[in-house]
Symmetry: C2
Subunit: 158 residues, 2 copies
């Protein structure tokens, strides 16, 4: 169920990104707020971090962190192209899913890589599955904002 919710949130976000032009993504989601392209890079960077956290391998795009995790929007002089960020987003999620779909139940309930063995004994909820839950909520929080890039009349979720 947790994985279904993840897949559903990724699908909704994918559909939204597909429906938005590069130009629309360059707009702020609301006045003075993050641009769509920043949130695209931010989500790609956050999901990329899930790879080492879940024990699935190294970051695919370590260069995204400083721009999209450590700095707010408009702080960087230059950011990667929107088309590159779109492909980072797709690649990171596809790689995650390749690993996610092979894990057993027992593996989902193992600790994630930011927890020490002794802490996990006391805090068994700090497992891989919980990362998925939390990242799904992170994603839907930003999805609610990205929806505002769609013109009002075609948008029932605003």
């Amino acid at each position: 169920m947790v994985l279904d919710a993840w897949v559903a949130a990724i699908k909704r976000t994918d559909d939204l990104f597909h429906s938005l032009t590069d130009e629309q993504l360059l707009q702020e989601v609301a006045p003075g707020r993050n641009r769509g392209v920043y949130l695209l890079g931010h989500l790609a960077a956050v999901h990329d971090r899930m790879l080492p956290l879940l024990g699935f391998g190294n970051l695919l795009y370590p260069e995204l962190s400083s721009i999209f995790l450590d700095s707010p929007d408009k702080a960087a002089d230059e950011i990667p192209s929107t088309s590159h960020l779109r492909s980072c987003w797709n690649e990171v999620n596809a790689t995650l899913w390749d690993h996610m779909r092979t894990l057993t139940s027992a593996e989902w309930f193992q600790q994630h890589n930011a927890v020490k063995e002794e802490d996990f004994a006391k805090e068994p909820h700090r497992n891989r599955l919980n990362i998925i839950l939390n990242r799904t909520n992170h994603l839907t929080t930003h999805l609610g904002q990205l929806i505002f890039l769609k013109p009002r009349e075609t948008n029932k979720e605003s």
Copy 2:
């Protein structure tokens, strides 16, 4: 973990609603979008519906449905006062939690009340716990929007 994620999302939303004045809630979250007060009523109404869906009892505020579920913002001539909606929101979530915290694991994996027995046999994920998962994602989607009612400088999540 699913309940923890629910509680965390409720807490974040509560904290946000507390920090917003009634006047701020009367603003649109973004130009031409829903007002904060509409989303407050909408979330209260959606969570109220969870009571019968989860077998916890009748709706507490059936009068919210037509305004906040069946109609878009600004369609109703008059809506309940913001202070009343704040108390609906609190009351509904408190009532839900009173029931939620007493359910056993087995009860969480029982079907919810919108599923027929024969469908549940084929679709066991249509259980109570899945309702919590889905409503948490619904909540965080709108939470991401409500955050925009806070002035930019005090806001790290926009």
